[in-house]
Amino acid sequence: MIPALALVVGVVAGLFLHPTVPLWLQPYLPIAVVAALDAVFGGIRAWLDGIFDDKVFVVSFVANVLVAGLIVFLGDQLGVGSQLSTGVVVVLGIRIFSNAAAIRRHIFRA
């Protein structure tokens, strides 16, 4: 309940504060968001499975964001930044889909 509230608070804050994304962060922010979404879906799935662990969630969340950002950073340095970010988004998207499928099975029994 608290995390859901926190999410709503964050979205509202983002909508109303009109923050400007710093230039250096602009390539990483979308990837970081997708990576964090992946962590959140994984967390919801674990919670529904009854194996949710606060520490695991925090570590996976931070690690996901950091690794995604690192991959994109590395890709930028290698000159394949856009292709690599596409790859990261595809992989994370697949993970989000499979987690969403597991959550769906839990909720709808189907």
């Binding site: 608290i2 926190a6 804050a13 909508l15 968001v33 964090a36 606060d54 925090v58």
Partner: protein, 234 residues
Amino acid sequence: MRRAPFRAVIAALVALLGFALATQVRTASRSEAGLASARQEDLVRILDDLSARSQRLQSELADLEAVKARLTSGTDRRQAALDEARRRARTLAVLAGTSPATGPGIVLSVLDPQGTVRADVLLDAVEELRDAGAEAIQLGTVRVVASTYLVDGTSGGLTVDGQALQAPYRFLVVGDPRTLTAALDIPGGVVDTVARNDGASATVEQRSVVRITALRPASTPRYARPASTPAPRG
């Protein structure tokens, strides 16, 4: 005691996620049209695409310009050829006798009350007129063209292109009046020759306008066909 800090961290992280999500959505939608948030290699690629496209369009433009120029000059050429052909057709129609002709010229009257003027005298007259630059000739009611023939009539008179003519013979000639008159009046010329026959006389009258109205039907050649290339062969 162990779980409380993690709870706070989770809430903070999820709030951060929501914040970043909203920010990113705003940024993406705002910069959708702009290039401010595009990365360098994307910009380079966009630039490359644009210059390649511009080059393609440039060459397409050049092609179309060439086609346009070709079509325009083709139209001009065709128009010029058409004008030339029309001009030549008019000239040839006068020469072939299929079109009436008018212009300065002379009227040559050959009076022959006794019927002593033979066809060869009049043929000489026609040849003389042609030599003197006559551009259209009418003898009586017959248009004189390249294939015209003159023979003596069976019962006097003259047969011109199958048509019987009786004296007096009247030539209508379009051409330079002075040259024609001079050609006919020279000693030993047509007027002289006609006058040598009994009772015959020829008079030349210069006119500023002679109307030649006798026509000859255009005949289609039976065997000859226009050659497409007039290039002569060795």
